[in-house]
């Protein structure tokens, strides 16, 4: 039993603990909070700026605060999945996780992302409601190409996004990465090897407008083709500024049959047939056909008239391949990137906002509305509020494909996925404590004595917490935390493996 001297205690900047009054935790002190920019079932997203001097000073950061999980559930599975997935991926067209912070008092989790000023929801809305003209060809093509490029990266790492929609496709504002697309939000990310689960059990209502027909017909297993369907819907929306299949959602649990959404699809694309989609007959909702979808008659399909494209154009050809009924025949992200559409003028570029031809007008998109009345706790009110955007800075659902695509009616597969961790990893300075022996004993004692348990830890206790250093190279001896008050042994390590 070795007792480390006081020199071994503390000294790390991560030990901030804001138990005393309104003091901010130290991690929070490195940011200037600007305000709230989004809110959803997952939690709240804030805009903040980095305070610290240096090259990052003033840089905008989106901070996503997870809603606390239910008492007794521990760290929320959603947060675990999202963070572990984000830790494994790194791509120019995928949102970048900069840091993970843990608030020690309530154990709430905060994710810091590079901030993206725009998203496709706001861009489309701006054109529809303010500019009153379509998005220029170059911008549409560049946005689509970059979206496919990010998606191809995800799919080749066995990750399905599963909830692509305009508000989840972010675009960088002014700066070095201006006009660069970032696929956002890994909210419901699923780990490799996890059993494939039906949509409903995530308990999150996602918009059905971008949902692939195989899912609407009750397919239990996802493939990356569901994302390509969504990309097709988004492509059409970029062209027309209107959602392509705007069905009315049936709100019921679990996972009700979305008749109206299918009806909207069939009206544009025509009735699916077994000839075109052989595995159609195996899909649960098609098979049971409680609402007689098989018997419905639909007029001649007219996708080209809806999107105002000549059937001979490469754009139409690509779109129709994304909206192929049979998921196995649907174009993949890799194939789409090679499509003729991207090889004809105007060629796609890195900055989707700046057209290649200087004579074309550059649209200045409005910045994201910020609600400056909300602080991280969601309480303080200082200034009059601005409306909060319905688009999410970093929201949406990612889903790891637990296996290679097996087709909508494929077998149950549970192989692991394989996102490769190429990146060095973000600077990591989340902190976590575990309770001291004294705390555990207190719990046990009170259990034995009273049969009930009180709050397991007092403020005084947590203020006295100290860390033990991480094990050093080659050190196999057992180490203990310093004795602080003569009787209470605190075993409260501090994590501070900063790589920044």
């Amino acid at each position: 039993m070795s007792n480390r001297g006081p020199g071994m205690i503390g000294g790390s900047h991560g030990s901030g603990n804001s138990n005393s009054g309104g003091n901010k935790p130290e991690w929070l002190q490195q940011y200037d909070l600007i305000g709230k920019i989004g809110e959803g079932t997952y939690g709240v997203v804030f805009l903040a700026r980095i305070k610290s001097p240096g090259s990052n000073r003033g840089k905008s950061i989106a901070i996503k605060k997870f809603k606390q999980s239910k008492d007794g559930d521990g760290v929320s599975p959603t947060a675990i999945r999202e963070i572990m997935l984000l830790r494994e991926i790194s791509h120019e067209n995928v949102v970048k996780l900069v840091n993970v912070h843990i608030n020690h008092n309530d154990m709430s989790l905060y994710l810091a992302f590079d901030y993206a000023e725009h998203d496709l929801y706001e861009i489309i809305r701006h054109h529809r409601d303010k500019v009153n003209q379509p998005i220029n060809q170059y911008t549409v093509k560049s946005l689509l190409w970059q979206l496919l490029n990010g998606l191809n990266y995800l799919h080749s790492n066995w990750i399905i996004h599963r909830d692509l929609k305009p508000s989840n496709i972010l675009v960088m504002g002014e700066g070095e990465e201006q006009g660069v697309v970032k696929i956002g939000d890994f909210g419901l990310a699923r780990i490799y090897q996890a059993p494939l689960k039906p949509l409903c059990d995530n308990g999150v209502v996602v918009t059905i407008w971008y949902r692939a027909p195989e899912l609407l017909l009750g397919a239990k297993h996802y493939t990356s083709a569901v994302d390509m369907w969504a990309v097709g819907c988004i492509f059409a929306e970029l062209l027309t500024l209107k959602p392509l299949f705007q069905g009315a959602e049936v709100k019921a649990t679990p996972n009700p049959f979305q008749l109206d959404q299918l009806d909207k699809i069939f009206k544009v694309l025509g009735h699916p047939t077994q000839e075109k989609w052989p595995t159609l007959v195996n899909l649960p909702h098609w098979q049971s056909d409680l609402q007689n979808i098989q018997g419905h008659k639909y007029d001649n399909p007219g996708l080209y008239s809806v999107v105002h494209l000549s059937p001979k154009t490469p754009a139409y050809d690509l779109l129709s391949k994304m909206l192929e009924y049979d998921p196995r025949k649907r174009i993949t992200a890799a194939q789409a990137l090679e499509h003729e559409y991207f090889k004809t003028e105007p060629l796609p570029g890195r900055n989707a906002f700046v057209p290649s031809r200087p004579e074309e007008k550059v649209v200045n998109y409005p910045t994201r509305p910020v609600d400056t009345t909300t602080d991280f706790e969601g309480t303080t009110s200082i200034q009059p509020s601005q409306p909060v955007s319905s688009g999410n800075a970093v929201s949406g659902n990612m889903h790891v494909v637990p296996n290679r695509a097996t087709g909508a009616t494929g077998c149950y597969c549970s192989g692991p996925s394989t996102a490769t961790a190429e990146e060095k990893g973000p600077p990591w300075n989340g902190n976590a404590w575990i309770p001291s022996t004294a705390e555990v004993k207190t719990v046990l004692r009170s259990q034995l004595v009273a049969g009930t348990l009180k709050s397991y830890i007092s403020r005084e206790d947590s203020d006295k917490r100290r860390e033990i250093p991480r094990k050093r190279e080659g050190e196999n001896r057992l180490s203990i935390a310093p004795i602080i008050d003569g009787s209470i042994m605190h075993w409260i390590p501090l994590i501070s493996n900063n790589e920044a």
């Binding site: 494994e88 780990i191 149950y412 575990i434 309770p435 259990q447 049969g451 009930t452 397991y456 094990k471």
Partner: protein, 317 residues
């Protein structure tokens, strides 16, 4: 709710929990896919080898307790094998980065609970509530478990997406059995894997090595090194397999199998302490098999820390 007590379940009883058909369905293999898995694993292992873990006696026993706890609890709750394996890999990963002081047996148990909880959150549907994962000699407040989860997550840098040997089994069975696989081979393979996780630190062996060794030993327990190499070189994934590691795992499994035949059966129960009642152990195993219900069980097989047993069923919060 009654807490599952310190029951002992033999690894073989675990084998009945997952139907073999599920694995069979996965048999569509894809060399490319397996190679991606292997590459990913190689990246992870190069880091691991630098922190080759040598456990002290105290820690070894603590690890065995953790293995028992994790296997018992996963069996009782009907979890997948991957969940148990992942929990243990988090456990070993944590201890290769941090040290737990020998006085804190509760910390080891807390670590086991937290690792199991994290693995279950990623693998199981529905996700169990924390109180279901209790079962050792201490009963932890859910806030304490949550703190430990955060500590584990941070220590592992949130990289929980490890490959497990089970991911490889359909592929290796298919490749190593030339035509048809012998009946019951899957349960024998699982038995080898569950036996070897008790013996080795999961940080020191690749999941692919454990998986291929388990398949090879289930097919033939008398392979020479040369014969084994021939078999490995015949499959497409061979260039990504670490033959040395496969052979090490093969030898350990072979030895464990030999011990099993030579030693009295009670020594094979998960708890190696002499106090284990063989009959009781078997009755537990069989009732788990048939009913998979919560079992109360006396604590005689736990020869330490009897003072603060959780005889109280009150939930902690």
């Amino acid at each position: 709710m009654e807490n599952p007590s310190d029951s002992s379940v033999s690894p073989s009883s675990l084998l009945c929990q997952e139907s073999e058909t599920r694995l069979d369905e996965d048999l569509d293999d894809d060399d490319e896919y397996i190679q991606v898995l292997l590459k990913r694993e190689t990246g992870a292992v190069s880091v691991r080898n630098s922190v080759c873990l040598v456990l002290q006696d105290w820690a070894k026993n603590a690890r065995l307790d953790a293995v028992d706890f994790i296997l018992n609890t996963t069996a009782l709750l009907g979890f997948r094998f991957q969940t148990a394996y992942l929990s243990l890999s988090y456990f070993d990963g944590f201890l290769s980065e941090r040290i737990i002081d020998s006085e804190k047996s509760w910390a080891v148990q807390l670590l086991s609970v937290a690792c199991l909880s994290l693995a279950a959150k990623l693998e199981e549907c529905p996700v169990p509530i924390l109180s279901e994962l209790q079962g050792g000699e201490y009963n932890f407040n859910s806030k304490i478990i949550q703190r430990m989860e955060l500590l584990v997550l941070n220590t592992l840098q949130w990289k929980l997406a490890s490959v497990t040997p089970f991911a490889y089994l359909p592929h290796f069975i298919n490749k190593f059995c030339n035509q048809s696989s012998p009946g019951g081979i899957i349960s024998r393979i699982r038995e080898h894997i569950l036996a070897v996780v008790r013996e080795v630190n999961l940080m020191n062996h690749r999941p692919s090595a454990i998986a291929s060794a388990a398949v090879l030993v289930a097919l033939d327990q008398r392979l020479t090194r040369k014969a084994m190499e021939l078999k490995i070189n015949a499959i497409p994934a061979s260039r990504f397999l670490d033959t040395e590691d496969v052979f090490t795992c093969y030898n350990i499994m072979q030895r464990l199998e030999f011990d099993k035949i030579m030693l009295p059966k009670f020594l094979l129960s998960p708890d190696l302490s002499p106090g284990t009642d063989v009959l009781q152990d078997h009755s537990v195993a069989s009732s788990v098999r048939s009913k998979r219900k919560r079992l109360t069980f006396n604590d005689s097989d736990q020869n330490h820390c009897l003072s603060e047993k959780k005889n109280h069923n009150s939930s902690i919060d």
